[in-house]
Amino acid sequence: MLYLALMAVMAVFALRLFYVQIIRYGYYHAQALSDQQKEYEIPATRGIIEAHLGNSIVPIVLNQELYTLYADPTLIKDPAQDASNIAKVIGGSANTYKQLLLTKGTRYVILARQLTKSQSSQILGFKYPGIGTQGQDYRTYPDGSLASQTLGFVNASGQGEYGLEQALNTELSGTPGKLKAITDANGVPLAAVPGNIDRAPIPGDNIVTTLNMGIQAQMEQILQAEYKKTNSQGLSAIIMNPDNGQIDAMANYPTYNPANYSAVTNPMLFQNAAVDDPIEPGSTMKTLTTSAALNMGAIQPNESFYDPAHWVIDGFNITDIKQDGGARVQNIASILALSLNTGATWMLMQMSNPGGTTINGKGITAWHNYMVNHFRLGQLTGIQQGYESPGYVPPANLADPSIDLRYANTAFGQGVQITALQLATALSSVLNGGTYYQPTLVDETIKPDGTVVKFQPKVLERNVVKPNIGQELIPLMQNVVLAYLHGGFYFMNFPSNYLVGGKTGTAQVARPTGGYYSNIFNGTYIGFVGQKTPQYVIIVYNIKPNVPGYAGSLGGQPVFADLAHMLINEGYVTH
């Protein structure tokens, strides 16, 4: 009987096996696959970022493979010894590692990050079960914090944040590879099994920026020095080529070190204020007002007019910050040189009604059209930067009872929000004869196969102004420089064989609660430098400088002067 029972049990086993292996095969097969088959994304190598230095191209953002040390606590046999030997290799507290190795309820703890290759192989050499390393590319920056806000950084999950890294994340990151394979319990793929997928990653593109590292480095030094000298809250500057929209240098101060971005406590430092922080630019706007009025034929370059020193618009007095003139005859040049708000308002009156002294819907509509469609204010330039801001141009809503005052304000740069980049690009389009090039930071894109794609200047607007308007504006802006020189600003003394022009801006700062502060100003400056034609357009935004006088003259202008002198002295001005 016992023997029969034994055979019966074995028969039951055979039946059970039939049930498990034949009838329920699909279920267990699926269970096995869900455990055993794993899908991996193989990260693609991120493209590097390069820049011009003299005649050569040098890397400014590189990759370095560093290693993350991890452990599966369930496999650790001797936590104390493992921890003490790990601490010997990579430093840190053995006790901390030991506690991590003793973590309950998980099969993955990270012990340390950013180990070097030699540290990694030393630890792997111990052959501790359950301890491994995982290579990961980290960005390194040979030039430290140089151009950091323009470059951005790459976060721990490999995504570009801010600047170029964010805007060109797709191009830089490439296409990750895919591995779908039957693996062992630790996730290591077993020998090829039918159905495995193994697709190699495609590396990201390398980007050669338009940045000129020589100019960029000196600009950053100048910004740092002026930031301290003017005791300001932030300083931004751009040097660009007006003939194709390429940015030679773009920086802000204070800045940060992207290699150590995680230590930054104030996220404002990540922002490239020159493109993502629009302000009311103040009188630098008058260069655009003048250009528009000239282009419309509303004024002539050498025209004179009677300036009453104040206008009453919608019940408000518009006066000049510079109160030295009083009511008298002025001309276009003096509007810019003395920065007359009444003069800018008069230009809007001429757009409304030539010869008149009122603002009407025709002038408002025309000026709005110039700001938005010709100078492309209030919209993104499309530069390769994360978080670019469009700024703000008030709508030409003629039903608004104070629309005249609103638009009179915009004529001298109040009540509009414009980024440094927007203003510089708009002025560039006037100076180069009327073509609005999309500003760009990308000179070349180098594909993984070595193909070089040269960036072609992209025209966004062909008829900003007539070709001659730039020629008319240049002497007006040169005159501003000379006027300041003669007024005692000796740093505005440039060699006579160079073409240097500019315009200050002392902008009132809006109170969040409405109205403007009476004692806080932003200093702005826009100008150009060249030999026969403007080779560089330079813009400076100095946020709330603490200077004994006008913010534009003493906060913006000296920075422009330093930058222009630097370009001239270093031989960057060639034509």
């Binding site: 009987m1 016992l2 023997y3 029969l4 034994l6 055979m7 049990v9 074995m10 039951v12 086993f13 055979a14 059970r16 096996l17 039939f18 498990v20 292996q21 034949i22 329920r24 095969y25 279920y27 267990y28 097969h29 269970q31 096995a32 455990d35 055993q36 046999k77 001797d78 052959k127 079960p129 039957i182 693996t183 062992d184 319990a185 630790n186 077993l190 099994v193």
Partner: protein, 426 residues
Amino acid sequence: MNPGFQPWRQLLKQRAEVPEQPLPRRHRPDYWLAIIVISLLVIGLVVIYSIGTALGLANNVSSNYYIDRQMLAIGLSAIAFAIASSIPLEWWRRYYKLLLAAGALATLMAVLMPVNPQYPAHRWVRLGSLSFQSVELVTFAVVIWLAKFLADRMRKNQLSDTRKTLWPLIAALVILGVAIAGVQSDLGSIGVILAVMSVMIFVAGMPLKKIVMVTLLILVVGGLAISTTPYRRERLATFLHPTSNCLGNGYQSCQALIAVGSGGAVGLGLGRSVQAYGYLPESANDSIFAIYSEKFGFIGDLVLLGLFAALFTRIKKIAMQAPNNFTRLLAIGILAWLSTQALINIGAMIGLLPLKGITLPLISYGGTSILFIMLAIGILFQISRYTSYVALNRDLGGRQKEGNNDNHSDRRRLGRAYNTSPGGRS
């Protein structure tokens, strides 16, 4: 009483009162036994060899480590087999005390030895790189002792004597229970020993009432043992709902079932086991059946079950035709031992029984287990040289002449045709 188990009990009882006959003439051994055993050993070797890489990776040793050690174990076991199959069977009866002493000593050493952190139980005697599982020796010694003890009691007709038979058996149970279940915490092995003892005692012919009594006692003690030890409670719970806790205690059960099930009808193929790569714990030892099933599927499993069934049938045949009560009980003990282990092991792998840490005889990796099983097979091989229908018939004839009123089996034998030649039924 169910007549189904009468043949064995009857055979033993019939000869209980007569003095032992001299052994019949030595003849050709049962070569089928050897062929089946070698087949099983080869299957085990093939499986262990084919997962050598996985085992090496998991345990940080070379991929030949396991197969080399298993070959060494089988080599040593072959010597043990050769010795056991050639020394006189009487020697086992004469020197059983040496074996019991060795078993006690090994157990003591295992308990006193510092434990390996990977297997924190006092079950191994470790000498350098060699380790020895004391309970395997103890099981072997118990089978030999019990065969001798029961054969003696039968000869003296003291099987029903409570003082002479029942108390020594209960004493042995208590000692084994304390040492193996208590100190070594090895409930699986004590289960195997209990099964072996029960079968041998039952077959020897102890009154069923006493066996039931003792069994109930063991069940109560066993129930207490399970309910007081948390990990056993969990194992029992896991057993009742094996797939409810796949990430916790049920992990091995679930992974074993996945391995078996994913083998399908014909298996993944010899080199294609995935579960051995870190998913299924103990894939060379306790879980080797699941790995085998994954590789060879339902067809392969039928072959393996068939081989085990053939092995058990050969051993049963040897037991039926064994020349005397001692060798008969010995063969039955060995059969009970091997079959219990095989059933517990396979049953656990296919989700019908709880995991007990019991190896699959002749297949699983592990030198100690193979060594003692091969020693036992050697004894069976030797017994198979002396099997005889003639001896059986002569015994029956002798008992009939002397007459025995207590012998109900006489009437049964006369009244029931199939009992006239029990040996022939095997």
